[in-house]
Symmetry: C2
Subunit: 226 residues, 2 copies
Amino acid sequence: MLVWERPEPPDRPTPGALSRDRIVRAAILLADADGLDAVSLRKVAAALEVGPMRLYGYIATKDELLDLMSDAVYAEIQPAGEGWRAALTSLAETTRDAAHRHEWFADLLGGRPRLGPHALAQGEAVVSRMSGIHVDDVMPMVGAVNAYVAGAVRQEITERRAERTSGLDKRQWQAAFGPYLQRLFASGRFPAMSAVVHDAAHLDADRSFRLGLDLLLDGIAARLAR
Amino acid sequence: MLVWERPEPPDRPTPGALSRDRIVRAAILLADADGLDAVSLRKVAAALEVGPMRLYGYIATKDELLDLMSDAVYAEIQPAGEGWRAALTSLAETTRDAAHRHEWFADLLGGRPRLGPHALAQGEAVVSRMSGIHVDDVMPMVGAVNAYVAGAVRQEITERRAERTSGLDKRQWQAAFGPYLQRLFASGRFPAMSAVVHDAAHLDADRSFRLGLDLLLDGIAARLAR
DNA sequence: CATCGTGGCGATACGGTGTATTGGCCAATA
DNA sequence: TATTGGCCAATACACCGTATCGCCACGATG
């Protein structure tokens, strides 16, 4: 049950030959274009001009393919920076950037164990930059940032998707939810929320993500100062 | 396309009659028992001793059923407490408790718009308790807590599931990942992580969740004090 | 060189899914 | 009583992940 490791055939691969990499890349292209639901083993195989069963010589199951796709994205996330605050900020921003390039990544983020080699390498890159922090504090702090990032990114992508599908048929969306929401708010059952959504300044996604992250990092800084 | 509102037939319902509530409750029982994947319209219908197509008189699509299930869980989350810190803490803990009762909720959390009536009521309960906070700061702060909670809870449930399935056949799991991880760590490519997982105290899930939450709340408190 | 064995690969098959369509039956109305 | 309308069940379709089977081509062996 080797998941992330599977030896390629030792003789140099024929250029057109199948491989785990080619399969994962094809799956990622499909997911980038049409979302995770568009990734089926049949479609991936078709994109590679191959029968569906061929894939089972390289991956054991569809879940394993999803794990490999995730780990391929982790390869794109390599946080840099000096000092813990820069490292954690970079971790958050590069993860978010990756999710913007691959929206489906937001759906997988946190939904499966992060044990792939690239995910581990990313963890190493972060942990190794947490200089001067007590060893007992490293994982909780990194974990908290990862949790915030996963939740915030998923929320953001969800909203973006909702806006996009409502943009395609904004008329429909407004017809469906506009009256419903309007009635609820007019009902007076949500006075506090009404006041906030009416009066508050609306931040764009960048600023809102950054603000929440800064709150968390400020809390970490305060803890470290004690 | 009324999603969360659909009038029940006005004459008082026959006890055994179908209804959105009965459908949602049956789906939740299935999901609690065997996970989200076990929720299929056919199985829900079978649990209600009814043909699958009957459900389409009450819900438009399976996604709508998932939205209704989510919103039913939000009905269980009613944060209490006086003052913003108690309210946000309560929001986090009750959300986490709900995900412990309904593990599938962690998979849905943040994955779809939170526009159901109970979700809105929960939002109102939180916002109305953010007393003394500038109107522009309310949503970002509540949003940050919600993001952290969603990410942390999903991560926690994912780990819990991995442990459980590996508990069923722990031998298999160790045989699969033990050597792989051992080799990676022995390879010396992850010195910082190795040191941390070797030397650091391991917190249980309760403490780790609470610690991350406190970091974020401390950051909020610091911001409010400025 | 002829034959046999083998192993990889394609096609087929199975049980499941969400949902569209069809057709029949029952009940209320003209 | 004849008709019509609406509800409900059954059927149907396209697709999914994956198990199985049978063929064919190739390498080893007599």
